[in-house]
């Protein structure tokens, strides 16, 4: 295979560095008596915090309340933030804890069995082998597609949903996901594998076929 150029060295690193040092400065200022800058600090993450609480609670009103509460706690405990982890990961971790606490309360109120430790072991065999080509992200313009995707995610049980949302929706690393959920990296990987395979089986009939082919392409070709 011919060797291909990657991004010019330094381009991405510089950018990330300046972004995170802006953030670090904001954190220090909020901590040292300018709480009103907290808005600016959390604005890039507001939506992600909601996505995390929703992944666990599956109810918009509860998820929103938990997200607000999590962000208030973050403000209150900002002195406890340690720069060795990313600020976004720290926020998500607080959000996950808040949502899980509510979930436990909800479960104990309803005295429902908690299926937390179910089937982490047994192997999952894929069921659908239909051919999939690369799907343009424009399909997400369609509300029905977004609804199908979030519906499929909502139908996963909590242990898979949490892992998938943190890793694949929020783009946390395996290590960050394991830290946020308080489980081993091995469990993260096992659950992620299963979540991805289950979602794939659920969505393949639509995404591999009829939904995406209804879409007309700006590139003027139909790749499947």
């Amino acid at each position: 295979m011919p060797s291909l150029p990657g991004p010019p060295p330094g381009t991405t690193a510089q950018l990330t560095e300046s972004d995170s040092s802006d953030e670090a400065r904001l954190i220090v200022r909020v901590r040292d008596g300018e709480p009103e800058l907290f808005y600016e600090l959390i604005r890039p993450y507001e939506r992600r915090v909601y996505a995390a609480t929703f992944a666990i609670l599956r109810n918009p009103a509860n998820a929103e309340d938990a997200a607000q509460e999590a962000l208030l706690k973050a403000l209150k405990h900002i002195r406890q933030f340690r720069a060795e982890s990313r600020f976004s990961t720290w926020l998500i971790q607080i959000a996950v804890n808040e949502a899980r606490m509510r979930k436990r309360k909800e479960n104990s109120d309803r005295t429902e069995p908690i299926t937390q430790n179910a089937d982490d072991q047994g192997e999952y065999k894929p069921r659908d082998f239909a051919d999939w080509r690369e799907i343009p992200s424009e399909v997400l313009e369609r509300k029905e597609v977004r609804e199908k995707l979030s519906g499929a995610l909502t139908s996963l049980s909590q242990i898979y949903r949490e892992v998938f949302v943190l890793r694949d929706v929020q783009q946390l690393s395996i290590e960050e996901t394991s830290k946020a959920l308080g489980i081993s990296t091995a469990s993260v990987k096992t659950r992620l594998l299963r979540a991805r395979l289950m979602l794939r089986d659920m969505l393949a009939p639509g995404l591999g076929g009829q939904w995406s082919s209804k879409f007309s392409f700006s590139k003027g070709e139909k790749p499947w």
Binding site: S3, L4, G6, P7, P8, T12, L15, D19, P35, E36, Y39, R43, P44, E46, R47, R48, Y50, A51, P60, E64, A67, Q68, L71, L72, L75, E123, Y124, K125, D128, F129, D131, W132, E134, I135, P136, S137, L140, E141, R146, L149, S150, L153, F164, D168, V169, Q171, I174, K189, L192, L193, R196, L197, L199, R200, A204, L207, G208, F217, K219, P223
Partner: protein, 178 residues
Amino acid sequence: MVVECDHVWREISNYVDDDVDPALRAAMEEHFKECKHCTAILDGARNLVQLYGDDRMFEVPLGYGQRLHRRLAGNIGKSRRTFIGWMVATAAGIFIAGSYELARSATSTRDNLRSELAHFSAPVPPDLMVVVADDGKVFHGAAACPFIHDKTKVKSLLAREAVQQGYTPCVRCMKQYV
């Protein structure tokens, strides 16, 4: 090293995350060349990660930001206890509420979401060298990205050309721009 379908399924998620050792990676790549089933699973898994990783999937209830800022303003006001602090907090709350209302009146959801995020995610540098697969939809920062569907058909071009041709940034290797 030769691997069977079962083995590929167990490792497919690690493969997508670029978390398999080079020998296994090579064996899996050999297997994908021969096995349509496993290739279909791999393509599907990669598609899912790209779609779910798109910021258009971050939907929040209408008025979420406004209500959040109102609640924070109350607390920030309390913690500050100075008239100026309270004024700043309230003004920020109103300003943000206003911009959400504006954003909401935009016609497309995509513009809506993008404009809220635009302020924070850096634009892709137009002269950045990126890589696309021939029949792909996504551009990548490096040819080694495990999300490239067909590594035998890749070409490099400038990010601005990729965008013009309708490619979108990979949620994994171009993460800081998505």
